[in-house]
């Protein structure tokens, strides 16, 4: 041993340097892999956003045509304003704009330039201001979806006439309208204020937004208190025995169950057994509650666990009851984590369609829901329905609806992050 120690040592540092370099290299590689993973994920995200925004932004504008409308008294002889022949008014004004068009088939294709919604616009105007009867006024009415697609460049005009939805004479009229400044694209308010429609130019997202809002309100009001109560009981009061273990396993299991199963359960229990009305936000909210509850309970328990035991012991030590300890100290400290869990659960509920399929919320509903028991759809359902429609103009509407949904989701997730940052306590 002695001898060994006295021998001249090999340059140890060379060895160590080599080893160190190897380890640095490995770390560098690892970091590079991580960065590559993030870059790949971000580029996919960018691709998704770019393609959706690229095909959806045009839906926020809509082509309008100016009509010189004469609200002739002859058409309003009947007392009932709703019974007047409004389509006839638009037809008359189109005919007066193009007096050279006489033949029946030609007239028909002329009428096709404006949306059937033009009649509703006029009806609305007269209802708001009955003094319009007998007057003459320029009114901007929505153009038909084919015209809209042509103006936005999403329909080819340079193919043979037989292969186009718009015929040569219609293209000529559109050109003339454009020259006269009677055709322009404007901000599409209809998209934000109306419900579903079979005419793409009249279809809007508001009915679906409201349906989603009512459903999520019910989900929040039910799942948050129930979830918090369940988490508090399981974490703070329940004895640790086989029963609570079974419950825990079951809750974790439920969180992983495909959402369509909750829809089937909702159909069997809420609609068939309780007799709640089909296709309503009430049932939708209940089903989404079932879906979000496990998420909220799991998040709630995790955030209760993160409150250090010293807080509990201190509270009990100065004479607080167990109930006071929980409500005064533990729960307020765990609340930010619970809220984050709730928001993430709600965001998932907002984006889910499958459970709504079974309870009849995947439906064509024009009227804007006014309450919990009115028939309604939800945002993702609206996207699904539009994606399946044959009209070309629904493609951009679909993407626009996805943009809206993404904005909502980003807002909710951002709120969760901000809340966590703001209220989080470091121990």
């Amino acid at each position: 041993m002695e001898k060994n120690l006295n021998q001249p040592m090999k340059p140890f540092s060379v060895h160590m340097n080599k080893d160190l370099q190897r380890r640095y290299r490995a770390e560098k590689w690892f970091q590079r892999c991580g960065i590559a993973a993030i870059v790949i994920a971000l580029s996919f995200l960018f691709l998704l956003f770019a393609s959706i925004i690229g095909s959806g932004y045009s839906a926020f504008r809509q082509t309008f045509i100016a009509l010189d409308v004469h609200f002739s008294e002859d058409l309003f002889k009947n007392e009932n304003l709703a019974a007047a022949d409004y389509p006839a008014i638009t037809k008359t004004s189109l005919r007066s704009a193009f007096p050279e068009v006489k033949e029946r088939r030609e007239l028909r294709s002329l009428y096709m330039l404006v949306s059937p919604g033009a009649a509703f616009t006029l009806h609305e105007m007269v209802r708001e201001n009955p003094r319009l009867i007998g007057a003459r006024q320029e009114v901007w009415v929505p153009a038909n979806d084919d015209v809209d697609m042509l103006i936005k460049g999403q329909m080819k005009a340079d193919v043979p006439e037989a292969n186009r939805r718009l015929k040569d004479n219609q293209l000529r009229w559109i050109d003339q309208l454009q020259k006269d400044g009677k055709l322009e694209t404007r901000f599409n308010t209809t998209f934000f204020t109306s419900g579903d429609s079979r005419e793409p130019e009249l279809a809007g997202i508001w009915g679906a937004v409201k349906g989603s809002f009512y459903s999520l309100l019910i989900t929040l009001l039910l799942s948050f208190p129930i979830g918090v109560a369940a988490a508090v009981y399981l974490e703070e009061f329940a004895p640790k025995n086989i029963w609570t273990d079974i419950i825990e396993v079951n809750i974790n299991n439920l969180a992983a169950v495909p959402s369509i199963i909750f829809g089937l359960l909702g159909l069997a229990v809420f609609i068939n057994f309780w007799g709640l009305p089909r296709s309503t936000p009430l049932v939708g909210g209940l089903v989404l509650t079932l879906m979000t509850l496990p998420v909220i309970i799991i998040a709630g328990r995790a955030s209760l666990k993160s409150v250090p035991p010293s807080i509990r012991e201190a509270a009990l030590g100065i004479g607080a009851s167990k109930m006071q300890m929980v409500t005064h100290h533990v729960l307020p400290l765990a609340m930010p984590g619970m809220l984050t869990g709730a928001i993430i659960g709600m965001a998932r509920a907002l984006g889910d369609t499958a459970p709504l399929l079974m309870i009849g919320m995947v439906a064509f509903i024009v009227d804007i829901p006014g309450g919990f028991t009115d028939a309604a759809t939800a945002l993702p359902v609206q996207i699904y329905l539009w994606a399946d429609s044959s009209e070309r103009a629904f493609t951009e509407k679909t993407s626009a609806a996805i943009i809206i949904l993404l904005i909502f989701l980003i807002c909710m997730n951002a709120a969760a992050v901000i809340m966590r940052k703001k209220f989080e306590t470091k121990w």
Partner: protein, 346 residues
């Protein structure tokens, strides 16, 4: 404090829900059923809701079979009033209806829908017969070398089937088996094509199961691709791949006439006129069914049926024709409209 208010809120919701249950009457027509009829039914519903004094009916797209299941659930506000269908009601469904007390059903035939086999405009149009389509797409086909025997489909290009067809690989995009369009395509093209071989046709008498398997099985070696329920997606894929053909409903062909073209089947291209005249063979009737017991109970059912069967809706120049539905001949329309007015039951 916080906890108390949370409990209060939940108690409030509970009462809200229980009051919701109390309201039982329904003033909105509820319609379920076929996704093929959905675009037409919704167009009528919207027109009906915007111009009349009734609420806009609610229409669920559940598929024909799913629709009948809900429709036949029973009589009462809980159950839908009408069911759309892309085929006539089956006897088994009628029995199911009757067993649940739905005895009087009014059948309304509304028009036709064509199914197109289309490719992109940049490629040459195809001319096919049902027999050729069967040979191209069936899982098992007659052995050309050995008469009366079936072999796994050996055809790779259209030219191998018929020397007059182009020398391109067989590649057809179609809907999955859950789709009504697929059912109709199989029934009207594949089965009809299979029956042109006498020994397969003979099988339909001697060995029904075997006949079903031979005539209804699509090949699974990649030449037939299930492209999902979304017809828009198939149209997009066709534009990206000029060699491929796609199977979808006529209304999608009509809307995308600037980018895709329908192949001629048995000498006829899928045009509005050909389908309406009954010359294009791949077309099917569309229906809706009404529960007679609900008429006069749910407001507006009669008026809705009136709107659907009015000339301005289902006529040759009506708004349903604009949406891609093929109207029935004048005589037939008159007959159906009269039956609807009398609420003639099945």
């Amino acid at each position: 404090m916080k906890v108390k208010s949370i409990f209060l809120a939940s108690a409030l919701t509970m009462t809200l829900i229980s009051t919701g249950t109390a309201m039982a009457a329904r003033d909105m027509i509820s319609i379920v059923g076929s996704s093929t009829v959905y675009p037409f039914s919704t167009a009528v519903a919207e027109q009906f809701g915007k111009t009349g004094n009734f609420k806009t009916p609610k229409i669920e797209s559940t598929g024909t079979g799913g629709g009948f299941k809900l429709f036949c659930g029973g009589v009462g506000v809980k159950f839908p009033d009408m069911s759309n269908a892309s085929r006539a009601i089956k006897d088994s469904e009628k029995e199911n209806c009757a067993a649940n007390g739905v005895k009087e059903i009014v059948e309304v035939k509304i028009g036709y829908d064509g199914i197109a086999l289309a490719n992109t405009k940049t490629a040459a149009p195809m001319k096919l017969s049902r027999k050729e389509i069967f040979l191209a797409l069936a899982k098992e086909v007659p052995d050309p070398a050995n008469e009366g025997q079936l072999i796994a489909n050996p055809y790779k290009t259209w030219k191998e089937i018929n020397p007059e067809l182009p020398d391109t690989a067989i590649e057809v995009l179609g809907p999955p088996p859950t789709s009504g369009t697929r059912d109709a395509f199989v029934e009207m093209v594949m089965v009809a094509g299979a029956e042109e071989f006498d020994f397969i046709k003979a099988m339909s008498k001697s060995d029904k199961d075997r006949f079903k398997a031979v005539s209804e099985s699509m090949r699974e070696d990649g030449a037939f691709i299930e492209a999902g329920e979304n017809d828009n997606l198939i149209v997009q894929k066709l534009q990206a791949n000029p060699k491929a053909l796609g199977i979808f409903g006529f209304s999608f062909l009509d809307q995308n006439a600037d980018v895709v073209q329908g192949s001629a089947i048995e000498g006829e291209t899928p045009t509005f006129e050909a389908i309406s005249a009954g010359k294009y063979v791949v077309s099917r009737p569309l229906f809706f069914y009404v529960k007679k017991a609900h008429v006069d109970v749910i407001p507006g059912i009669k008026e809705f049926m009136g709107e659907f069967t009015s000339e301005k809706a289902w006529g040759p120049e009506g708004y349903l024709a604009d949406k891609g539905m093929i109207p029935m001949p004048d005589e037939e329309r008159k007959q159906v409209a009269a039956d609807v007015a009398n609420l003639k039951t099945l």
